[in-house]
Symmetry: C2
Amino acid sequence: MTLTKEIKDKKVNFEFNKELINIFNSKIKDNDAEFLNKNLKELHPADSADIIENLTSENRSKLIELEGFNLVPEIFIELNESIQEEIFIVLSVDSIVNILKRLESDNALKILQNLNDDKKNIVLLKLPPKDRFILQEGLLYPEDSAARIMQREFAAIPSNWFVGQTIDYLRENKDLPEEFLEVFIVDNNFKPIGTVQSSKVLTAPRDSKMNSLMNETQVLIPVDMDKEEVGRIFENYNLVSAGVVNKENKLVGMITGDDVFTILQDEAEEDVLRLAGVGDEEITDSVFKKTKRRFNWLLLNLFTALLATWVISKFGASIEQMVALAFLMPIVASMGGNAGMQTLAVTIRALATKELSSGNFSKVIIKEFIIGIFNGLIFAVITGVIVQLWFKEINLSILIAVSMILNMMVAGLFGILVPVSLKRFNIDPAIASSVFVTTITDVIGFLSFLGLGTYFFYG
Amino acid sequence: MTLTKEIKDKKVNFEFNKELINIFNSKIKDNDAEFLNKNLKELHPADSADIIENLTSENRSKLIELEGFNLVPEIFIELNESIQEEIFIVLSVDSIVNILKRLESDNALKILQNLNDDKKNIVLLKLPPKDRFILQEGLLYPEDSAARIMQREFAAIPSNWFVGQTIDYLRENKDLPEEFLEVFIVDNNFKPIGTVQSSKVLTAPRDSKMNSLMNETQVLIPVDMDKEEVGRIFENYNLVSAGVVNKENKLVGMITGDDVFTILQDEAEEDVLRLAGVGDEEITDSVFKKTKRRFNWLLLNLFTALLATWVISKFGASIEQMVALAFLMPIVASMGGNAGMQTLAVTIRALATKELSSGNFSKVIIKEFIIGIFNGLIFAVITGVIVQLWFKEINLSILIAVSMILNMMVAGLFGILVPVSLKRFNIDPAIASSVFVTTITDVIGFLSFLGLGTYFFYG
């Protein structure tokens, strides 16, 4: 490593700190292209991207426009989408073309798909025909398909070859990817019949038959498979690499584990953010973008809150007669909401990892219902006792206990039924479920507590 | 593949269905060890584990006890922890010893660490001394450290070797792991100075120097690093394999990408479940276990709800004077709670992926505060107008608008301050944050709405 010493000292344990960012900010102000070139080139592209993301946005544009300065192309694919957008507005079409030419096809595709349509078309026209063809073909597949993350270069040999023959071929062939984790064995129709790990080719004698080393139980990815499903398969089968096949079962590409980490991470992260009603927000997004993204969710929540208000308003007379109803009613709604969210979170993860399927569905539903009853009973007793001690009014205590049981049962049931039903209608359960579930538990919470109270005691 | 045809037909697109499970359930009832042996051996261990997880628990014990039946050891490491526990209670110590002997060190360790202490010690005593030593050494490291997931077998050579020499050595050496993605180049002190991908060794001429193919900017994992941090590093640097070094910087093992998928998935999943107050629940856990896990969270929530009740009860006189206060008060609390959870979810993911650091902390806080003000203003207007149209009482409309702005600002601020502070005290922010934040937004919501109402209009 030939990093400048002041940078090397600051970069400890894969952590970045403010001081480090400040050095870069000040070197940009000084137009020190030599320093910037040297260090951003020597650092891992992921680290350089981290630094660029944390510069002030003014210095970021200055860095890009600096004379005699060229970013390593791999840095771009490591940048957040919002920062990529910001930079590609400043960059000339020729610079973008140059970056794309120097990237592998899967990475070039990742950048290209983030450009707006006008810029995308001009850039495509300026690319060499061979690159353009590959990228245009990739763009034909859906944005979330395996085709968008696969590499189109791979190593494949016929099944009757020997190890020695294979090594000689690999040494001579210049069209191979720079790195590959396995060699595919294909039949006459280019249909993959097995794979041999690169390390197995290395350790076997030259006169071994390749198909004797072959792993037959290979997992093949259809080219149009959703990339989240690809991630799930890599995780489930502990893969580091897998072949991609087209509709005719011909080998057309390969996907390696490093492409999948980000997908797996993003997918699970999506669930956290969607459950909280944020969507695909990134920390670098602008205030305006963030406010807009969160607005819809809050608006939806306002209407469900107004629905609860409307339910409560029907029982105004009872509240005026017994004001403690107003003190206690949020408890029932809130406990139901929390129990519902617990069931919901478990269900959504089980659906995402396919642990919940038609095979165990009814068993799981019954379980959740029983948990609802158990927790309902336990908290009915606890809450009933507390309310009795506090308000010394037995009717109120019975009332809150009964409506607690009811709402906890409802919470358990709908916590699982809502996401499963949404999934059946092909709606992402993580996005819409929590509004439904909390609306149901709010309404049932207020309705059962105030309704039963009005009917039996304070009507 | 030599799967029984009825199984092969049912297994389409990596999906399991009820029919498939039923076939296995009925073959177990028929004591058809031959069928079971054949198919559970031919399926991918991950698929076999899925089937076993979905059997009735009675049939699962029967399967394990079936005469002449032996599960492939790799199946065990693919099983959920709760199912592993269930099975290892039934299995004899000798069977467990046999399974461990046939597994690689990292996988054997995974099983061993899930046994109870008594069984663990007896099993260790019955293992051959070499295996026992390796496993005991592994157990010395913390449960979540890199040492627990690394393989102790790897390929390493000195820096002055040629490609041909390396290949000859790899062919002759019988102590190598079955598969390795890269060859480590080490100095005289066994300190790694670079790596060469296996495929690069394959494609280079025999007379190339290994160090000319070497990748110097390697990422090395300290043996005691937390495994979640290992996962983050693999994701950040797009690794498929990395060396593990001890305190003296000597190479002691390697970690491959397939070991990391599960860690990354689990970690993000943990955040979803913890935010919802469920902890590390699995879908196969028993009703009793699930009820117990969720109980603590609900109890905590009950006390925060009682706190809100106490706040409301201080304003009983105002509610009796103006009952619409009771109808509207949940709106302010609920909007604050939702806005707080949005900020919280973004913050927790940013902390987990280290996108939020001391370098950008104050910038991000200010952003959230501004978003809180923006959304507060927007929803103050919307809610104020709706309330005016509904109740035609200007004081009520002003009141709800002002308390809405207040609570949304509080939500944005505490949605970021709470998790960051918890993290600073080394408490997992995903576990505890949401209780704090919703308690704060509930209390401030009720307090500002009822308090301001009492002070200015209905006191």
